[in-house]
Amino acid sequence: MDIMPILASLRHHKITALLVVLEIALTCAIVCNSVFLISQRIDRMNMPSGVAEDEVIQIQTADIGRRADTMARAREDLAAIEKIAGVKNVALSNQVPFGRSSNNSTIKLDPNQKTESLNATMYQGQDVIQALGAQVIAGRDLTHEDNVDLSVVIASKLTVIPKVVVISSGMAEKLWPGQSAVGKTIYLGDKPMMVVGVLRHLVRPSIWDWNTADYSIVIPMRIGATPGTNYIIRTAPADRERVLQQAVAALKVINPNRLILKKRSFDEVRREYFQDDRSMIGLLVGVCVALLVVTALGIVGLGSFWVAQRRRQIGVRRALGATRANILHYFQTENFILTTVGIAAGAALAYGVNGLLMQHYELPRLPGAYPAAGAILLWLVGQAAVLWPALRAAAVPPVVATRST
């Protein structure tokens, strides 16, 4: 197909053609960046927690009034939950992955260091690793012999503290790149603790920097049943609902005067943590679809106009021997040229927008696959949109050439 006549004809419609190109370019730039943002959010929402997610449930409670001997009551609660059929492990922990509320500390490798090595979150409790189903990939798991009572820690004014900890692999890799963390020592303030094991993952309860999401320490410490602490229960996926009900009932039997703040499966914990990201994805998808529809309708509208305007011209071409297919291809090629120019401008614009986003939101550079996919998408949309006007053009009979309008 000779494109020279098409270009000549487009020269007569410079402004309109430019507008189509502009619209396609803007659509391309916005859609590329939106889809990139969507993929970033999806990656984020699927980030590993290190938890056996389909086996874990959380119950958060609070007592009314200050009650004495929180340690004994924790033991009683844990024993009662352990007795429920199907419970594999149960722990009382100060915090839960993706649970938002967190306790964090700065970590040093040398007590005389002036600036901290990093900031990590501290999971405190007994059997936390087993109850969460976190995987130990180096060294050993924590045992009951490692546990120290929180009440003892406080009474001793921090002179008696747990001697060992397990840390997540993200944190281990940051502190000792390429080395084994097992046997190394970290300092919380000036208190040394030895790393005895490394977890594949254990995500923070609350993430403000995605690079440090996997910086977690598990401290073997029996804590008391104080308001806001969490019972973490591990059970078979099918038993979760039943175990949750029975555990809540058991806790209510021990102390009817307590409030259940949260009772949910880990699936819900994750869902709630990422709810804003999910809304954002919905919005981005909605805008992309609306953009493509508006652009497509614009092409249909303009195409119909051009066809109506050129009816006589088309009739003359048909009378001079052009086939229907020739006419159809003419309009399809015209659309392809405009779309291609639009896509080229749009890809450049997409990188401009991406540059701005990189400055204000922690976003990486847009990979080339996105503009490429955007190009294919817009070519398809453009061809689909122009099909109807082009078919109408092809249906113009040669006799039109002989009629005067």
């Binding site: 508006v294 303009l302 309008t405």
Partner: protein
Amino acid sequence: MFAYNLEMALRSLKRNRALTLLMVLAIALGIGASMTTLTVLHVLSGDPIPESSAQLYYPQLDPRDMDGYTSTSKPPDQLSYPDGMALLKAARGTHQALMTGGAVPIQPAQSGIEPFIEDARYTTADFFPMFNVPFIFGHAWASTEDAAKARVVVITRELNDKIFNGKDSTGQSLRVNGHDLRIVGVIDNWRPNPHFYDLNMSTFSEKENVFVPLFTARDLLLERNGSSDCWGNNGNDGEHMETSDCVWLQFWVQLDSPAKAADYKEFLVHYSQEQKALGRFQRPPNVQLRNVIEWLDYNKVVPGDVRLQVWLALGFLVVCLVNTVGLMLAKFLRRASELGVRRALGASRRVIFTQLLVEAGLVGLVGGLGGLLLSLLGLWLVRLQPSDYASLARLDLPMLLATFVLAVSATLVAGMLPAWRACQVVPALQLKSN
């Protein structure tokens, strides 16, 4: 003349119903999306306390040790207990209050209501006059009751409705975490957004229904909410917060003139120097004194996603407008012969231009109406979202007017180019052929 233009415009729009519908729809979608996101931004970046936001200041000091010190370190976002008490006792402002957030279990005496947890604010007495908190029953507690650790409490209308069926409950007692506190006042609906005085809590959805004097709350060891940052080696266990090296309190001071604010900043520097001389502070004086709006900006309270959504919607609006410009251009040029005849019959360019703009404005007006409906739908969708600011997303009068102004002016600007282009038609050329 305008009526004539309007009639011509209507005729022309009717001639191409599908195209008109397409233009109106594109404008409506673009306006609807833009207004939805702009309304959310407008609500979230509003002034929470417009009558006095310029007089309310949030002092920051740096009491930390030299660990991690750099000359560009920012002072912590909260105050330690000794510093908060010092600023409170200095009483240099018209009002000042020291506070922190918390949560308390409430056990209503009425048998029908199960115990429940309420968010609470533990504060000194000036909180109420300083923030102009309206009371429906009773009054705030007095400073003397702060010092006496009086067992008193102020509750909100919402809680009063829930427990006392809206009757005047002052003088009655409320069982808070196992202690009886005497209700001295019930405050009316008062919910500044963002929750500027304590940004550690959820910024937009915070609803504190219980107010307890700070020292009473500490005396009763009521559960605290919010963040605490500690340094040095003494950990904090919640019970010894007064003596630990931790920042965990918010302090607000009312300073009625810029001169007083400058004096106050001077005072903060002197205080820091004095504390350093005493050996309590180790870092050089590093103070900040921000008013409400500056404090909100500093803390970037508007979520980044909300700004991103606004840009996205505006980008979408631009595409919709470009789309409309293209369609209008094609449409106006199609009528070149008609316009040519009118020009030949003596219509000036200005008349033609005005007529075409009326047509564009009409599309904008109808599009704006559609956009308004779509933004109501959009805001309803936003309110269904779980975000903490969702319930605030409502269209107010200024935004409603803005919708129309934006829609009509955007379409008029969009109509400018096609109308101008159509006016360039040479009458003779159009009359010659056909």
